[in-house]
């Protein structure tokens, strides 16, 4: 009796149907309380702490953190790395999803599993493998040295490590979507005389645009925020090979907490924008699906 009594009075928003399959008010409050406590401890307080620490000495001190040459160089490098890595991985994602979702071929399942490998590998190992290839003691090291090409402790290494870490993001968003969409629409377009390119830009692309956008946003967030893999290959040369996350580390280790959290706050804003974009795009695709049905 006591299990269900509350639902009739306390919670009128619940329908009768729900009322016999829900918990007592006490249990409900306990569960909501436990969830709130955990989320406050692990998500809300850290989020607030970042901005509080960054603004500890006022807005002027916060803004002056960005006037620093090394900070600006770090921001520029991070943007440059993402500008190279993200489009390449987007292209890979579309190509992989097209082949996997629209065609049947031997080894397809293996390929799908392989694409997730970079997500399973520790970031430190993602950097390590490029050091073993291109580092001074690596296989190609002597040859690269002879030809005066720098990959490790330089931009190419950082780009490679970033690409490795973010390879799966676009493909993972697109493959299940394109598989569920089937190939009828593309076949119809071809039957009606469209060229391959027309079919792709007028049928396929409009169908996948929101998932593609979300995949790109996720890929970008991870590319700009990657720490472990980039840390291995970067060499931490101030003003040259320091990305934003690495700059945060240097500032923090120098006990320059305000500047460290100021740069960190930019990366946090990027994360928040990513979460908002996810929510908006999920709603968009959900309403799109409803319209289709």
């Amino acid at each position: 009796m006591s299990l269900f009594s509350s639902t009739t009075t306390a919670d009128k928003s619940l329908q009768w149907k729900d009322s016999i399959t829900t918990e007592s008010a006490l249990v409900r409050r306990l569960l909501i309380g436990a969830a709130s406590l955990f989320l406050t401890l692990f998500l809300l307080i850290p989020l607030m702490a970042i901005f509080t620490e960054a603004l500890k000495h006022g807005l002027a001190a916060y803004l002056s953190s960005f006037a620093d040459d090394d900070a600006l160089a770090a921001i520029r490098l991070t943007l440059l790395v993402a500008a190279i890595a993200v489009p390449l991985n987007a292209l890979f994602g579309v190509a992989a999803a097209w082949a996997i979702a629209k065609f049947d071929f031997v080894g397809k399942q293996i390929l799908i599993s392989l694409i997730d490998i970079p997500l399973a590998v520790s970031p430190v190992i993602s950097g390590l493998i490029y050091v073993l290839l291109f580092g001074a003691q690596g296989w190609l090291g002597p040859w690269l040295l002879d030809h005066d090409i720098k990959i490790i402790f330089a931009l190419p290494g950082i780009v490679l490590a970033t690409i490795f870490v973010t390879v799966p993001f676009v493909a993972r968003e697109l493959i299940p979507l394109m598989q569920s969409q089937g190939r009828e629409e593309e076949e119809a377009a071809l039957t009606l005389g469209a060229s391959g390119w027309q079919m792709f830009t007028r049928v396929t692309l409009p169908n996948i645009k929101w998932s593609l956008l979300y995949g790109v946003i996720l890929c970008n967030a991870r590319a700009m925020g990657e720490f472990g893999a980039v840390s291995v290959v970067s060499g931490h040369i101030r003003g040259l090979t320091n990305t934003m996350p690495l700059h945060v580390e240097i500032l923090y280790n120098e006990y320059n907490a305000v500047a460290a959290f100021a740069v960190a706050s930019l990366l946090t804003l990027l994360a928040i924008v990513t979460l908002i974009a996810k929510t908006v795009i999920e709603r968009k695709t959900a309403s799109h699906d409803r319209r289709k049905i």
């Binding site: 729900d18 016999i20 399959t21 829900t22 918990e23 436990a34 969830a35 955990f38 989320l39 692990f42 998500l43 307080i45 989020l47 702490a49 390449l88 890979f92 190509a95 629209k102 065609f103 071929f105 392989l114 694409i115 490998i117 399973a120 590998v121 520790s122 970031p123 430190v124 190992i125 493998i129 050091v131 073993l132 290839l133 296989w139 690409i163 390879v167 076949e187 391959g196 079919m199 792709f200 700009m224 925020g225 720490f227 472990g228 840390s231 291995v232 934003m244 996350p245 690495l246 945060v248 923090y252 460290a260 959290f261 960190a264 990366l267 994360a271 928040i272 979460l275 996810k278 929510t279």
Partner: protein, 278 residues
């Protein structure tokens, strides 16, 4: 010889798309990764064994796997509660909370690392209340646990949540109508449905935690034998130009990651096979 490698299709671009996919993926991922194994084969078995069973390495495994496991289990409990609350209850700000759950996934690990450290340091927002109780979090193995719990959270919530959403409440109604109380219904009807997804989520959180580097190194204190995780030990060996040592430990981590990925794949397959049967 009539082995059909590809079903015929009128759609264009297969060779181009697959060709580019394989070329790019081999160049970026497969060839560099296989290089790790080739490099290890340069070590003799004794050398390899000595590196990976060195007491400092073993201590780092214990910490890395132990803290990852405990963190994943904590996430199993609280992640399920959060998923349950998000799916079953209506409260103001639900969509904000729902979006916020992905924060550990979207937040760069270095940012998470310095933030958690400053919160749990002895003068931090939470650390100052734990200090009088004799609990030190920052710069101890407990700090490693906090960081690994933080980064694993989204995995359990995001695997359990969709299963809960798809759960047919009529089955629960039937159980209730047949005289089961809420607790019995929960254990006999809901839990068996959630089990595979929950295990998958815990395994994913564990796998992510095992390889984690950025969020841990700030809060861990990084004392050898005490609060040093395996990825950091690899990093340390690299900085000392001990490439052989770094490679050997890297292979151990990589094999563990692959085994975990395989287990997760099997769990997902089990989970979806169950869904199909309904």
């Amino acid at each position: 010889m009539n082995i059909i490698l590809k079903q015929p299709s009128v759609l264009p671009g297969f060779s181009l798309a697959l060709g580019f996919t394989l070329f790019y993926f081999c160049l970026i991922v497969l060839i560099p990764l296989s290089g790790l194994f080739v490099k290890t084969s340069g070590l003799s078995w004794d050398q390899f064994w000595n590196v990976i069973t060195d007491p400092r390495a073993v201590a780092s495994y214990k910490l890395t796997f132990g803290a990852s496991l405990v963190g994943a289990l904590i996430n199993g409990v609280f992640g399920s509660i959060i998923a349950w609350v998000l799916v079953r209850y209506h409260f103001p700000g639900r969509s904000v909370v729902d979006a916020l759950v992905d924060l550990p996934f979207a937040l760069p690990t270095a940012v998470a690392g310095i933030t958690l450290t400053s919160i749990y340091a002895s003068n931090g927002w939470i650390g100052r209340y734990l200090e009088p109780l004799g609990i030190q979090v920052a710069f101890t193995p407990l700090g490693v646990l906090v960081a690994l719990t933080f980064i694993g959270l989204p995995f359990v919530v995001r695997t359990v949540q969709p299963v809960l959403q798809d759960l047919d409440r009529e089955v629960e109604e039937a159980a209730t109508t047949l005289g089961a109380n809420r607790w019995q219904t929960f254990w006999a009807v809901v839990v068996p449905e959630l089990w595979p997804a929950l295990l998958t989520g815990i395994a994913m959180a564990f796998a992510r935690a095992v390889g984690e580097y950025g969020s841990v190194i700030f809060i861990a204190g990084n004392m050898p034998m005490k609060s040093e995780i395996t990825p950091l030990l690899i990093m340390t060996k690299l900085e000392q130009y001990d490439y052989a040592g770094a490679t050997a430990l890297g292979v151990v981590m990589l094999v563990v990651s692959f085994v975990l990925a395989l287990i997760i794949n099997l769990l997902q397959w089990w989970s979806s096979a169950r869904h199909m049967n309904q």
